[in-house]
Symmetry: C3
């Protein structure tokens, strides 16, 4: 007869996998938190870029007025 | 003799890990999709920042012309 | 008596999970590397946006001088 170790995942292996999976889940959770932080920061970027676009556009209009004096 | 439960991962534990691993893989996949979306959005940011840089540079040249009139 | 296969995770299932977990960990590691790269790129964005803000602010001051001539 075959030894049980050859047929079934050994307890040691399953425990090691369980710990490895838990560590992976923590890593994924930390990465997800960081991702949401970055997504929030990017919204601030978009707002600032839109604000800069408006400012630059209005400056271009000032230039047109100055140059057609 | 030891009970089998002490030597091998119980079926219940292995099933629970299997489900936990599947959930982790879905979370990783969703995070990867979100990451690619954000990477795409960031390319748009870079283009817009480069465009603003050009506009502001050309406005600085207009200023130099106006001020040296 | 129940067959052992019904009570414990089969070796085949545990091996498959082990490989699946290793693949997930590689995916998470690659995603984390990409995230750190993007976080670095975002710092460059922030610096450039701050630089543009300064330039546009100083141009607004030039306009005020020009318009109050």
């Amino acid at each position: 007869a075959q030894a049980p170790e050859e047929n079934y995942g050994s307890n040691t292996q399953v425990q090691a996998m369980s710990e490895s999976l838990a560590a992976t889940q923590q890593q994924v959770q930390a990465l997800q938190d960081s991702y949401f932080e970055m997504a929030h920061a990017n919204k601030v970027f978009v707002d600032e870029i839109l604000h800069l676009q408006k400012l630059v556009k209005s400056q271009t209009q000032v230039h047109e007025q100055l140059l057609t004096y």
